[in-house]
């Protein structure tokens, strides 16, 4: 991993360092109640997010194509969307614990990206040379980012079912219900999950004359969608506890992770048309 870090671009190193710094700030912030320790990690996380934006743009220019092709590139983009959603959610709900969880997630994603570092920049194959590539991937990764953050708030709900008091706005403190926050974030994620799934089907029709091919990756994208659709319907069962709802979201996030990383373990993956380059 150190060898990978050595050979990565300076921008990657800077971004990774800033995310790690933000995480350190959040760790301190979790134990300190001063407004300062709420704002510092948030500011660091914002700067790291901006650095990540530059990293992605730089890669886009260097590769001469959208940087979503390889595993490494998609992981960096997943970190970017997760940061973006987390920053918006943290800003809205004023709870640094959300940023803390997201910073852990993003640092882990960056560490994982190091193990998948691209030695060479891969060119786009004909099927990916279409404008649909961009909205499809962006929709999916916005959904993944949102649902990861929803997963974090679901975990926070299980850990702190009574919620926490907002820290960042001194004088306007209110109690945050993580279950309600999870629902709001999941709705947003589900919308983009739906858009990504349908854009993918539309693209599949243009590229392979098939909008649905029961490909393993497509199937797991559908499974993920179904789990989150079930989550939205479980909320209509009055006696279905919020604890169980939180678990459904966590299972949904696990399904996302499997869809993203687990395809190689399926016996049916050999014929899949959805394979990341780089391993």
């Amino acid at each position: 991993m150190l060898e990978s870090l050595y050979y990565t671009s300076t921008l990657f190193k800077v971004t990774f360092f800033l995310y790690a710094l933000a995480l350190a700030g959040y760790i301190i912030g979790v134990f300190r109640k001063e407004k300062f320790w709420g704002n510092i990690p948030f500011a660091l996380f914002t700067i790291a997010f901006l650095a990540c934006t530059v990293l992605i743009v730089d890669r886009w220019i260097e590769a001469g194509r959208p940087p979503f092709k390889s595993f490494y590139e998609s992981l960096v983009f997943a970190a970017w969307t997760t940061s973006l959603i987390s920053l918006v959610v943290e800003y809205r709900f004023k709870v640094r614990l959300i940023g803390f969880m997201s910073a852990i997630g993003v640092v882990l994603i960056f560490l994982f990206a190091l193990t998948k570092r691209d030695v060479e920049i891969i060119a786009l194959p004909p099927a990916l040379q279409t404008w649909m590539f961009i909205p499809h991937v962006i929709s999916y990764f916005l959904a993944y980012g949102a649902l990861f953050v929803a997963g974090f708030t679901a975990i926070l709900y299980l850990a702190l079912p009574g919620g926490v008091t907002s820290h960042h706005t001194l004088g306007q403190q209110s109690r945050i219900d993580f279950s309600a926050a999870t629902y709001q974030i999941t709705k947003f994620g589900f919308l983009f999950l739906t858009a990504g799934l349908l854009l993918g089907a539309w693209w599949g029709q243009n590229a392979w004359s098939n909008y649905w091919g029961w490909d393993p990756k497509e199937n797991w994208a559908l499974i993920t969608w179904l789990i989150f659709a079930a989550y939205l319907h479980f909320r209509n069962i009055p006696s279905w506890s919020e604890k169980r709802l939180a678990w459904v979201v966590i299972i949904g996030v696990a399904a996302i992770v499997f869809t993203y990383l687990g395809m190689d373990y399926l016996p049916t993956a050999g014929d899949s048309l959805h394979v990341y380059s780089g391993d």
């Binding site: 150190l2 060898e3 050595y6 050979y7 709900f93 030695v119 060479e120 920049i121 891969i122 060119a123 194959p125 004909p126 099927a127 040379q129 279409t130 279950s179 309600a180 629902y183 709705k187 947003f188 589900f190 919308l191 739906t194 349908l198 089907a201 539309w202 693209w203 243009n206 590229a207 392979w208 004359s209 098939n210 909008y211 649905w212 091919g213 029961w214 199937n219 797991w220 559908l222 499974i223 179904l226 789990i227 659709a229 079930a230 939205l232 319907h233 479980f234 909320r235 209509n236 069962i237 009055p238 006696s239 279905w240 506890s241 919020e242 709802l245 399926l266 016996p267 049916t268 014929d271």
Partner: protein, 573 residues
Amino acid sequence: MANVQNTNSSPKNNDYQTRGFRRVTGLLAAMVAFALLAQNLHEGFSNVWLNTIAPLSIVLAYSILFFKPLKRSIDTPYFATLSLLCIAVGTAVGTFVTQNELPTVFAQRYGEAGSSILRFFQWDDVFHSWWFVGFFVLMAGSLLKSSWKKKFNRENLGFHLAHLSPIIILLGFWVDYFYGFRGIIQLETGQSANVVRVYNGSTNYIGDSTEIPFRIRLDHFEFEKHDPDYRIQVWRTIQEAEPHAQPTADGHGHPATGTPEIVASMPLKEAKIRRIYGTDIYFRLNEFYPNFTFEYTYPEVNDTVEAKDPGVLLNVKTPFGQADVNLFSNRPGRNTIADENHLGGWLEFYWEAPENLTQAINGQPDAKWAEVNRTILVGTEEKIYYWVEGELSSEPLQADKFYDFPLREGIGFTMKHLYPDAAYLLSTPVSDGEELLNPVAKVEVWRKGGPGEEAYLYPGGRRGGTFQIEGADYFLALESFRDMETKYYRSELSVLDENDEVVMSQSVVVNEPMLHRGYRFYQSDYDPNNPNYSGIGVSHEPGLYVVYFGFTVLVLGCLMMFYGRYRKQGGLV
């Protein structure tokens, strides 16, 4: 933010919830059992009673037997959640068990008993199993009734759109399944056809053939690789035997000892010093030559130099391009280019006229010598002799003048230098233009505090093109991976009517199909060994726009339901 969750989980509610889930679980389980029985009868028997009437009766029986409980439960959230999760589980099964395998391959993978059990449960083709389709039918019923029950007003518009759109998508999907097809027309340039080899269901097994009402002709096919992107690569060789053994080069110019793995690839940035991780080895690119060649000069000392190693520098033009070539009179094998195919004969250089040439000049050519056409350059005479089809002729040899080879117009050479001793010939590496015709990189490698060593790297797996760093497991290479990948495939297609008249012509590439009379034509296959072959995917999907309409309605419905202006604020989904 409003907390919309009702946290009422009293024992009474829990009982109700348990009963609700039990009832729906029972209904779905019964559906699976009835569907399995019906499909196994349908597939297992040839008797019309057993393979058609009995399965239909079973399906009908389920509908009649469970009509009332279905009617009561189908629009409940229990039914919605369980049917969604059942479809999810069924889909997952279809990814864990290989689908649509040939029976022999399936039995080989799962064993005789295992494959029989899996086949009984239709796990060998989950996505076409009746129980899996049954989930969709019941879910469609659930969506329809849920929507029917809900008041049609502005507040509920998002709900209706989101819940009716999956039915629209399923309808389009089933129309395509029953009335559409997907297949392939395999053509070579100039060929036309109207017979499509149809894919079997959702698999890629080619089944029957079908005819389309017009012919498709492949006018032209081409594919192109990406432009090269040369980079300096650092490779590591895992030494397997003696750690300090000097590796030998394999056929690709890479050391043969151990397995080489690429550890880094750097853009061609001149003068930037780089270090190999974990070592004290540094290197930098000193110069990159896109079209490497040598520029030769000979000092102005010709008259005083003894003819120890005389030679001539020629720029030879062949059908494949131009190259500087040195011929040396006194070096056996280095004074002749014997390429009758491209040069029309042999090209030879002698400082002084050889004996068999003198014989030919005297009209007595050696019979064996006279067998081929020859172009002979004689240095002391500064003359060219041509021996072409038994005739000898000559002309003065002048610098910078182009000479055609015998019987090869436009293919010939230009003399650049004629010199008596090669030791005085100076060669300087240069690039002949910016086009990537013969890329070479000059690198400098050194250990910390040690002297630098220069090396020339060249790609294409040529022997000696890499540079093995002495005493280390690393070697440097100059390669481009990008141009190994295909940039595009393109077929120029024409649609022909019944009189073979061209109705339309269009270029088809991946992602840009051609549409004609409800049929779509895709670039879907090619053969790297046959540049004239193209596989044209054909699809006829009458329900496609219904599906697209359903997609749009679904996104719109979700958007309105979650964020619409008139949605029920804080209400449940």
